[in-house]
Amino acid sequence: MSKELNLWLDDLLKDIKIIQFKRKNSRRVRIDIAPEALPALLELLQGRASYVHLSAITCVDWIEDDEFELVYHVWSYETNSLVSAHTRISRDPGVYLSVYDLYTPAAFFERDIHEMFGLYFEGSPDMEKFILTEWNGPPPMRKDFDSEAFVNQTFSWEEYHPQWLKDIEAEGGGITTRPEDVR
């Protein structure tokens, strides 16, 4: 049964012009689709082809193309295959549609992407901060956020040399640091 349904998917999708269909192996299918058609595709996959499990939504920041790539991984318990639907949206203003009405788990992933990439999902039930509750800087998973530069700007390097260590060193012990290791 699984094989037949899979082939049916091939037939179904090969006639639609706006999508690119690529079969990686018998269990993995990659679909590239325009952003305006993606919710319709997911609805089709869920309603007609039993892809009921949203495994994950991933966001990739392609900063050179000035685009975000969103990947929706949906799994079918009947045909045991995974469809990864890729779509690209502009980084600015970075707004897209929520698929919460189709897949409940989307709420978590959309909230996470909003927090980490600053991408807003219209219609998502919950866009409140979750992990980075005390963070006011730019979304940290964007490629233009440089963690090391941020650390150097925000914190100052301190020599750790407490009195008890000085006492030990006065007696000839302690930590020896090579001159080239001193920052």
Binding site: L54, S55, A56, C59, V71, L82, I131, L132
Partner: protein, 380 residues
């Protein structure tokens, strides 16, 4: 003495109050918190509050070499670290088109099942503690320690083994390892009846856990529940069988289901999976000596390793459910993007928020442990 313009705020009388449950609470699993709204001891709503364990793994990985991240990934889930290493390694192998030797596959499956045993012992031990029974917890932790001894012998590390690398495993087993593993399995097998009479058939536990945190199969599918929690609602689905990786298609094991969907069923599924893992490990002990050859295929210089551009989504069955890595390479020496889909990112947030409503306060911790939620997978 009240000021002249004093006016009391008018509001209807209410018995509701909010309680911060965690992050520093003996009944909660790791550094994780809930804001629960209560009426008496009945939970009206629960709101997950994560972030106490956020170490920015996904961002850190983008700044390190492919091979360096092997030391990073097991830290995403402390009780069950091996699936993390294996899943990440599988992703790189798929991107590079590496074919790993068969012996390495068997060694990986062996560790995966050892890790599953250790994680399940930890999980139901923790559950027992939330219902006031501390003996199963001590027993579970003590027996888990014996598995960690075998990990130490095999890999050098007790908790984070960092043994699976892209291309295979780091080195072969020590002499006589399988005999000692077999002795351990005999011991664990002999302990299962003790666990049954102490915990799984204990009326105290059964009465506490029955119908607590119950969900139907339909709800579980809708909410993205996976792993033992999904099997506890009656659906026989396991990534090991239905999306096989490594050599699971050559191994004989059953997928255990329970119909209830409540905390009791979830624990009974874990109990039965202990038996299945022991069964798988016995097959491995029998079969592994006949698989000869290398444990690692040749890989490029790991410090100057440019993984070909591409993307892949690899999935494994961890002890908590479906674990997946989405890895993107742009042809460089570091990953362009790594996304970790931990099973607990569903269980500990949305599912728990829904299941806690209507339960009593003392059951919140129990529901969390019965879902085997692992907060570091949420925070990443």
């Amino acid at each position: 003495m009240r000021p002249e313009n004093y006016e009391a705020i008018k509001q209807p009388p209410s018995n509701e109050f909010e309680l911060n449950f965690g992050p520093n609470h003996p009944g909660i699993e790791g550094n994780y918190a809930f804001r629960v709204k209560l009426n008496g001891d009945e939970v009206l709503s629960a709101r997950a509050d994560a972030g106490y364990l956020h170490r920015g793994f996904e961002k850190l990985m983008e700044g390190r070499l492919w091979i360096q991240n092997i030391a990073l990934v097991p830290r995403i889930c402390v009780p069950d670290p091996v699936p993390m290493e294996v899943c990440y390694s599988l992703a790189i192998e798929e991107l590079c088109g590496l074919e790993i030797p068969e012996r390495a596959m068997w060694l990986r499956v062996m560790q995966l099942e050892m890790s599953r045993l250790a994680a399940h012992l930890f999980a139901f031990g923790g559950h027992a503690a939330t219902t006031g029974m501390y003996t199963p917890m001590f027993w579970g932790v003590a027996d888990r320690d014996l598995i960690l001894d075998r990990f130490e012998e095999l890999t050098g590390g007790r908790v984070y083994s960092i043994y699976n690398i892209p291309g295979g495993v780091r080195r072969d087993m020590p002499d006589g390892f399988l005999d000692r593993l077999g002795t351990l399995l005999d011991y664990l097998d002999s302990r299962l009846p003790d666990y049954d009479s102490l915990f799984f058939r204990n009326q105290v536990f059964i009465k506490r856990a029955r119908d607590v945190g119950a969900m139907t199969q339909e709800q579980a599918l809708k909410w993205g529940v996976t792993g033992p929690n999904l099997r506890a609602t009656g659906l026989a689905f396991d990534v090991r069988r239905d999306d096989p990786y490594l050599v699971y298609d050559k191994i004989d094991f059953d997928i255990v289901t329970e119909p209830g969907g409540d905390a009791l069923s979830r624990n009974l599924v874990r109990r039965a999976e202990l038996k299945q893992s022991i069964r798988i490990l016995r097959q491995i002990i029998k079969h592994l000596p006949s698989v000869k050859g290398a444990v690692r295929c040749p890989i490029p210089n790991p410090l100057a390793w440019n993984v070909p551009a591409g993307e892949t989504y690899t999935r494994v069955e961890s002890s908590k459910g479906e674990l997946a890595y989405y890895v993107v390479s742009n042809g460089g020496d570091k990953p362009y993007r790594v996304h970790v889909r931990g099973p607990s990112s569903m269980h500990a947030v949305q599912v728990l928020e829904k299941l806690a409503v209507g339960s009593r306060l003392e059951d919140v911790a129990q529901i969390m442990f019965s879902l085997d939620a692992c907060p570091p997978e949420v925070d990443r």
